[in-house]
Amino acid sequence: MAEEKEIAYRLAEKQKEVSVAEFFERNRHLLGFDNKRKALMTVIKEAVDNALDACEEAKILPEIKVEIIEMSEDRFRVIVEDNGPGIIKEQIPKIFAKLLYGSKFHTLKQARGQQGIGISAAVLYAQLTTGRPTKIISKIRTKSEANYYELHINTQKNNPEIVKESTLEWKKEHGTKIEMDIEASYQKGAQSVDEYLKETAIVNPHATIIYTNPKAEQVIFARSTNDLPKEPKEIKPHPYGVELGILLKMLKATEGRTLQSFFTNDFSRVGPTTVKEICEKAAIPPSIKPSEVNMQMAERLIKAIRETKIIAPPTDCISPIGKDLLLSGLKKEIPAEFYTATTRPPSVYRGMPFVIECCIAYGGSLDKESSANVLRFANRVPLLYQPGACAITKSIIGTAWRSYGLNQSSGALPAGPVVILVHLASVWPPFTSEAKEAIAHYPEIIKEIKLAIQECGRELARYVLKKRRVSDSIQKKGYIEKYLNHVGGALKELLSLSDKEEARINDSLKDILEKSRKIEEIEKVEHDGSEERLGILQNDEESEVGEDG
């Protein structure tokens, strides 16, 4: 055992010697910097996510300016400015120029950022690709002057390196502005900065985003509500969500003097009775010091936790967007004729509370021929990459859309003029990688997504079928006109009738059919809501294909 520890320590020392630059170079794909186009999106995404988080925490309605300037063919200057609370002087270098520094990693709270890696990774990317320092201006309300920094990251020590430091006049009352020169490429379309900002505007209807693209075209995504999202509460981890590594870390960091106080203070939903049960099952006295818990004991504790019934975590820590705001966000950016939305009640995966929301837009000027446009979100952040790996895509494909009035071939997204938006809000959204591109396939999450989709789907079906009925009625009338003459014409040929007789046939037949059409429509209205389809073009025959010559 002792020997094992030694090796572990030695390994840990070695690992420290790996510079962050090297780490970044090896893992840039995990962090969303795989290529130049994606890098541009990722840099802006990290800056905007931070800006929105900061504004919301300070209860300020966000107003964010994003500007991209083309410096040369593959070099761009990115400027993101917010009206957030600002950052105090001492913290600026650490926040922007130290990887894995942040407030969010140690707490469980619904937020866009998780590990404090995003913005500093962007700073590092800028430094590695153009060598230029990142420029920060930040001002807090109580100070008259803003702080100005030019920062590099010391890639050996993972520490900020201050290139320039000063104060300056800034007409803004408070806020932060970041400016980076990066190697990138700009393109419109799916997975672009434009798309990312548009989708961000949809799920953040309380934010105004002013965007100037490299062609100097300005787009303003105006806010459609003045209500800030409900502030999510911080919660302590739930025992079900804790794995061995985290448990060991928590045992080391705790202020609790005994295992008993460690469990009751550092976890949610654990009272003395539960501690007793866990400790009995693990055969460890609750009075032991947390620092005395070794690896094997910790393993026993984890096993005991799994075997103990513990109440689900509180769910007030989640702040969903809400049905009405979702609708207003979608209506603002997606021109359709029908909208419906739903917010599911909170649910739990692996001790982590989450909420699923779904919103569907249909018809209008949406493309009728293509497959559905799927908008995926986690904690109000658009997910643009890796749709195939995402639990949201999987759930949508796994839903039977035909009963909701859309076409769908097996194993594919539904087709038709439809936008499907799914939002996962959670204290800890389970991503498949650090780049936060796809949601992992937890059965509890997939189940909730499907339920949300189904709720919206039913509303959609009601609308589509009603619409179809109206158009059927119009279509039918045209149908009679179209084929009536052929009945008369054929009879004329068959029985050598005169033109006059043919005309009389047509008149008489029209009467008969119009009458029956009206009766049919009345019957239809009486059967409102039935999902029958009118097989106008389908033959009513049954035939054995290829069996007979």
Binding site: L484, L494, L495, D540, E544, E547
Partner: protein, 362 residues
């Protein structure tokens, strides 16, 4: 005779529709339901007979297109019969392109309407002036076909032993043909490949028989040709297909008892005395034949056959065979016999099968 009759039938139907329309009734056409669910297996006569389910095509908003097309097709048939002309199914489909909105988009649509009219009048399509454009089947062996030269109207004799490496091809109309033969039996073969092998080695000479290739589900003309040959010359008919549900249920069953789709003409277009000497499930084991796994569609065919096919329901031997195949999850093609040598089929398989009636299936 037949022409007069046909014209009268068409006229009668058209007049009735005319009357209904003028009387402000919804016009309708009545026709037998063409499906396996509407046939009985007449085990005494040996073919599928149509039962009594009918469908009515009432002219409504939803059916007006098909209704108009049916009338147009009737009118075309009338013209053909009156002018003593013929049109292939494909040609009929192209003629419909002149019907404006009522035209057929794909040929299966026009074929269906044609089959409906056929069933409605209980005639075969040739009587209505329509002919099939399918390949009729190839013939070689101890047979002289007595036909009429279309340009001179004189009798001509075609000797099927003198086709060299080629074959005599069954015409689309066979009713007027006569036969002269000393052969002992007719051997109907599923694939062209196997047929070619037997012709190449003059199997018909060694076995004193007539070889006919079916190439898939046999056409009506081919079925009628074999039936006439068998009836008039009192020849037994043996059928040699692959060992799979398609070979058994679609090819053999249709040849022997007819199809559900055209039950109104099965009486004449089937070969009730046919016997199955093709690959059986037992053969796959006994001959250790290279096999392929059963496909989903094969399984579906078996399930369908067990449930709906009156022929299978009547013959426990076939049920046993189908069950065994499903259990083995295998199928084998007739050409799999080549695994034991290219001419194994001639030297061993066929002689052995023909000698042993117990190895046949009904």
């Amino acid at each position: 005779m037949a022409e007069e009759n046909m014209l009268a039938k068409i006229k009668k139907t058209a007049t009735e529709i005319y009357r209904q329309i003028m009387a402000k009734e919804k016009p309708h056409l009545k026709m037998p339901l063409r499906s396996l669910s509407n046939v009985n297996y007449d085990s005494k006569e040996g073919y599928f007979e149509m039962s009594n389910e009918f469908k009515e095509r009432t002219l409504t908003v939803n059916t007006i297109k098909t209704f108009a097309q049916t009338l147009r097709m009737l009118s075309l048939s009338k013209t053909l019969v009156e002018t003593d002309d013929i049109a292939t199914k494909r040609e009929a489909y192209y003629i419909s392109k002149n019907w404006g909105d009522a035209k057929f988009v794909e040929q299966p649509e026009s074929d269906t309407v044609m089959d409906d009219i056929e069933a409605m009048f209980m005639v075969n399509r040739e009587q209505m002036g329509f002919i099939s454009d399918e390949h009729g089947g190839s013939v070689s062996g101890e047979l002289i076909v007595v036909d009429i030269d279309p340009s001179t109207n004189k009798e001509i004799k075609i000797d099927c032993t003198k086709m060299g490496t080629g074959s005599y091809s069954v015409p689309t109309r066979v009713e007027h043909l006569k036969f002269e033969t000393n052969a002992k039996f007719v051997l109907a073969i599923e694939t062209q490949g196997m047929y070619e092998r037997l012709v190449k080695h003059s199997y018909w000479k060694t076995a004193n028989c007539i070889l006919i290739s079916l190439t898939g589900v046999p056409s009506r003309a081919c079925r009628r040709f074999i039936r006439k040959l068998s009836d008039e010359k009192k020849l037994p008919v043996y059928v040699f297909t692959d060992g799979d549900p398609y070979g058994w249920l679609n090819i053999y069953r249709t040849l022997k008892v007819g199809s559900g789709n055209a039950a109104h003409i099965n009486k004449y277009f089937c070969v009730p005395n046919a016997k199955f000497i093709g690959i059986t499930a037992r053969d796959i084991v006994d001959y250790d034949l290279p096999s392929h796994p059963l496909k989903d569609i094969d399984i579906k065919r078996v399930v369908d056959g067990m449930k709906n096919d009156p022929f299978v329901k009547f013959h426990p031997e076939w049920q046993k065979e189908l069950n065994m195949l499903v259990k083995m999850k295998k199928r084998a093609e007739q050409q799999a016999l080549a695994a034991h040598g290219l001419n194994f089929v001639i030297s061993d398989y066929l002689p052995k099968k023909l000698k042993d009636p117990k190895s046949w299936l009904p």
